[in-house]
């Protein structure tokens, strides 16, 4: 099986073990790996360096579309939120939505990008039924922002709970249109086209190939998702297609030039992203070690089989024939310095104004939690990772005398594990923050032991509406405070075990 170190160098153990992906539907290539002649020049293990770059499309959270006034609405009746422009009817022109520009600026600032105060729009041409115009309006020559960074964290070791911070460079962020949706009806050999999504604003975030494995890719995307959700520039829900990730994967030997890369599409969740990337790395290594070559192709991830397959309809290299969008002048952004006097505020996007109003980013929120509540950094990651958990935690802390760094244990170990086991969200928790606070108060005042508290919690999960105090009384879990009574009990135990007790 392949053994991975976080330095990014993969070594292929020569003994083929039970691990590693078997090519979809075919038996794993056997034999040649075991004891066969080593490729010329190398003996034993040949290290591979995987290279992973991501292209992420985030749907902008706005009321109307990027260049038209039709509504942005998920799951609306087919072709009901489509304007004449979206359908590419002759005589229509694009008119840019201010909110989309602001969303892109916010995102660019959060990712430490240089903002291009003058950016341009272009047409990218290709034929497909869900692209009625035959081209997509995008920003190829001069996008709205370039050269940013995204920092994310990884657990190096589950046991040690050590977190390591990594960065991935952001090549650029550009504004572009989304296409419509195609529903393939293979039985009737036709495609049904719904243009509801055509023209919705997208921010494409292009990352440099600084990552080396599925885990890094997943962590980076998760952090980007949290940032976008914090900013409100995108809801970034992958399941609703608001965040789409394409992975570019290649492998090479250290010191040699980069290998041929493949593009992997159709990745529908962060979990699948990690699987898809790791599968593709393994697949490429296997192909190359068996003397094959990697095709510069587009592959789709099949989540059912857990592998990547060549994508249909992607014949040959596309020539997109980029040309400037003749109907749109350059997009000019201002800051406090360059703002001309006597301007109509509605017609001006001020970068500094937006910068001043940025909310605390996840990394800042985490740092504040660690400082304020004296919890560990990895705790702060978990708090932000679960929707509503931070709020829950802070509510409990507010209503109990127990130290936050003790409370966090109950939140992460008891509350969260129960919710995860039963696939519940924090909002769906049968135990509210005030009930948990009541319970922790009983514990803090030493009215019950922590073992008893856990028993009470088990009862509380049933959601029968009883308060912690009621359960304690019902099950007689109160700690005995009476000194005399305790002495009597101890004496009775000692008396009953005369043989065992040595005076």
């Amino acid at each position: 099986a392949a053994v991975r170190g976080c330095s990014g160098v993969w070594r292929r153990a020569w003994q083929r073990g039970a691990g590693g992906p078997a090519p979809c539907g075919r038996r794993a290539v056997a034999g040649s790996a075991r004891g066969a002649a080593v490729p010329a020049g190398k003996s034993g293990l040949a290290p591979w360096v995987p290279v992973v770059g991501l292209e992420i499309h985030a749907q902008i959270s706005s009321n109307s579309k990027l260049f038209s006034g039709s509504q942005v609405q998920f799951a609306a009746p087919p072709n009901s939120v489509v304007s004449f422009f979206d359908a590419s009817l002759p005589g229509t022109l694009p008119v840019i939505n201010r909110r989309c520009v602001e969303a892109a600026v916010m995102t660019a600032l959060a990712l430490n990008c240089s903002i291009n105060k003058r950016s341009l729009f272009d047409r990218k041409h290709y034929f497909y039924a869900d692209l009625p115009a035959g081209y997509q309006i995008t920003q190829q020559r001069v996008p709205i922002a370039v050269n940013g960074t995204l920092s994310y964290s990884l657990c190096t070791d589950n046991k040690m709970s050590q977190m390591v911070t990594k960065t991935v460079r952001i090549k650029q962020i550009q504004l572009e249109q989304d296409s419509g949706k195609s529903l393939h009806d293979d039985t009737r050999s036709q495609t049904l086209v719904d243009l509801n999504r055509a023209g919705v604003g997208l921010m494409e975030v292009v990352m440099e190939p600084d990552m080396c494995c599925g885990e890094e890719a997943a962590a980076a995307v998760r952090e980007l998702q949290l940032i976008l959700q914090t900013l409100g520039s995108s809801h970034a829900v992958m399941a609703e297609g608001q965040l789409r990730v394409d992975a570019n994967v290649s492998v090479h030997h250290p010191g040699e030039p980069y290998g041929v890369r493949t593009e992997v599409k159709n990745i529908n969740s962060i979990r699948f992203l990690a699987k898809a990337v790791d599968y593709e790395i393994q697949r490429q290594i296997e192909v190359l070690e068996n003397g094959g070559t990697i095709l510069n192709e587009t592959r789709a991830f099949d989540s059912r089989l857990g592998c990547t397959v060549p994508m249909r309809d992607k014949e040959g290299k596309q020539d997109y024939r980029f040309m400037p969008e003749p109907n749109l002048p350059p997009l000019i952004l201002y800051d406090a310095k360059s703002l001309p006097a006597n301007t109509n505020h509605q017609q001006v996007v001020n970068i500094d104004w937006i910068h001043e109003r940025l909310p605390d980013l996840p990394s800042v929120k985490r740092a504040k939690l660690v400082e304020q509540y004296e919890i560990l950094p990895e705790h702060s990651f978990t708090l932000l990772n679960e929707d509503g958990l931070t709020e829950f935690f802070e509510n409990v802390v507010k209503h109990t005398h127990m130290k936050p760094k003790k409370v966090i244990g109950w939140i992460l170990n008891d509350l969260l594990s129960y919710l995860n086991q039963h696939s519940l969200t924090v909002k769906e928790s049968p135990v509210s923050s005030s009930i948990l606070a009541d319970l922790l108060n009983l514990l803090e005042k030493k009215e019950i032991s922590s073992t008893a508290a856990k028993q009470v919690l088990v009862e509380l999960w049933k959601g029968e509406g009883k308060t912690p105090l009621e359960i304690v009384e019902e099950k007689k879990l109160e700690l005995i405070q009476d000194q005399e009574a305790l002495e009597q009990i101890c004496q009775a135990v000692i008396d009953g075990q005369e043989n065992a007790v040595i005076m």
């Binding site: 304007s83 359908a87 243009l195 309809d313 400037p324 109907n327 002048p329």
Partner: protein, 108 residues
């Protein structure tokens, strides 16, 4: 220079045009020649202009819903429809390879 067969094949594929006969190709050659006259202008140190709108302001629209809800009208243009979806062929119908096409280019 003459336009090569490879380029003509590429153009037919991309733009879905059909250079049916030598006249069509000749017309293309003449059009390129005509446009090539632009090279006679010295543009050293001059920024390219790609739109006469380059010094206009890009108008920013408020994020209000003002259009849509015209499914019936849009579908009037559709030759075929299924429950308010447009109907299209199953995928891009690939252009046959050069050898299989009935095109003038075969004989070049």
């Amino acid at each position: 220079q003459k336009v090569t067969v490879d380029v003509l094949d590429h153009l037919e594929r991309l733009a879905l045009v059909d250079f049916r006969d030598s006249e069509g190709v000749e017309r293309l050659q003449k059009a390129i020649q005509f446009a090539d006259q632009l090279h006679e202008v010295n543009t050293d140190g001059v920024e390219p202009m790609d739109s006469v709108l380059e010094d206009r302001c890009l108008y920013l629209r408020e994020d209000d819903v003002t259009e849509g809800n015209c499914t019936k009208e849009l579908l009037k243009n559709a030759r075929e429809k299924v429950e308010e979806y447009f109907v299209a062929p199953p995928g891009n119908i690939p252009l046959p390879k050069l050898e299989e096409r009935e095109t003038y280019l075969q004989s070049s």
